[in-house]
Amino acid sequence: MQQTSDEVLIQRIAGGDRLAMQVLFARHHVRVYRFVLRLVRNEATAEDLISEVFLDVWRQAGRFEGRSAVSTWLLAIARFKALSALRGRKEAELDDDVAEAIEDVSDTPEAAMQKKDKGEILRKCIETLSPDHREIIDLVYYHEKSVEEVAEIVGIPENTVKTRMFYARKKLAESLKAAGIERGWP
């Protein structure tokens, strides 16, 4: 059955259609939540932020020009909100988050290694990438964003998108090697 397109929903939202807002929310909120959660690393904050993201959509729908996909627009808003929230946190809180992340980095691939599960080790290594590298891996592989769309969401040139992805993958290969998996690349 034909689904109402995101662009049609946005037009209806611009006219104050709450049902269209519900449909759009139902369609995208999980992916937006996961994207935000990766950035802020706190479930409650991520939930607060997605309601902020969709509230922005409600307010700005009339100005959406359709030059990019609605999902790309949503992720760009979400990224801005998440980074603003991170900047607003106290330094001590950020330090705690970083420490938590570093702790994950040091022991989870090893623990996975003991289980001899290559897929699990790969997942753990992906999760230990730096925020910039993790973000681009998620946008390309999970959110299915093209080079142009990633450039728009992250706000970097297209060539930088390609090289950042390359270096994220290179870092991942190094991390895998450290965990005992040699892939013969790079």
């Binding site: 689904q3 006219g15 929310f25 909120h29 997605i50 790969l122 390359f166 013969g184």
Partner: protein, 222 residues
């Protein structure tokens, strides 16, 4: 330096594109370049398998994150309720309705399903054609417009639309070139009629079509 080390990214554009090829989000042209390279380079094909592993595990990793609670939606609609009331919904534009046809095809689907893409373009072309027809009936004509030969008296050309061209791109392209789709698709090509009276004008218009990013092929029709 390790003898097997790959050249730096700027020297190996194809390898840089592998993640997007795996995700199905490359343009038709780049996807064809990657496919050709994969068919002729066993080492590149092996590395592509590594990319596919990464893609699969990234999806699993994200899926393991779970979903937000109902609180997020409740919170959103409480905030929306506190917003000023809007006027009635505007009518949905024609182009938005056209885009509905395209919306159900994700980049990945389009990348792997040429047939589906062709069907979408047929639908698109039909509706765009009717749009231009409608506009010509309703739009007031400027005096200067009389200088342009009516499209019905013009010449025909064969074009193939680029896979990444959106409905809006194609509509704008047709309008900018005062063109109408009059036939097709046949072997992926559409027959369009453009306003031209002489061979020179025809050559000029075809050159303009060839330079457009919206079409991947253009030539005068017999």
């Amino acid at each position: 330096m390790n003898a097997t080390m790959k050249p730096e990214p700027e020297n190996d554009d194809i390898e840089l594109l592998l993640p997007w090829y795996a995700a199905g989000t490359l343009s038709h042209r780049d996807a064809a370049r990657v496919e050709s390279a994969l068919a002729n380079d066993a080492e590149l094909a092996r590395r592509f398998e590594l990319v596919r592993d990464e893609l699969g595990e990234t999806i699993r990793s994200n899926e393991s994150l779970g979903a937000p609670s109902a609180r997020a939606m409740k919170q959103l609609f409480e905030k929306i309720d506190a917003e000023p009331v809007r006027s009635a919904a505007p009518s949905v534009s024609f182009m938005t309705r056209v885009s509905e046809f395209m919306a159900s095809f994700s980049p990945r689907t389009l990348a792997y399903a040429g047939g589906v893409a062709a069907l979408a373009i047929v639908l698109q072309a039909g509706v765009i054609g009717s749009l231009i027809g409608e506009r010509s009936k309703t739009t007031p004509q400027l005096a200067s417009a009389e200088k342009v030969a009516p499209v019905s008296q013009g010449v025909e050309a064969l074009v193939q639309f680029a896979p990444q061209a959106s409905a809006a791109d194609i509509a704008a392209f047709l309008e900018a070139n005062k063109a109408t789709i009059v036939g097709g698709p046949a072997a992926g090509h559409f027959r369009i009629r453009v306003a031209a009276a002489t061979k020179e004008q025809t050559a000029e218009i075809v050159k303009k079509l060839q330079d457009s990013k919206v079409v991947s092929f253009a030539a005068p029709a017999n």
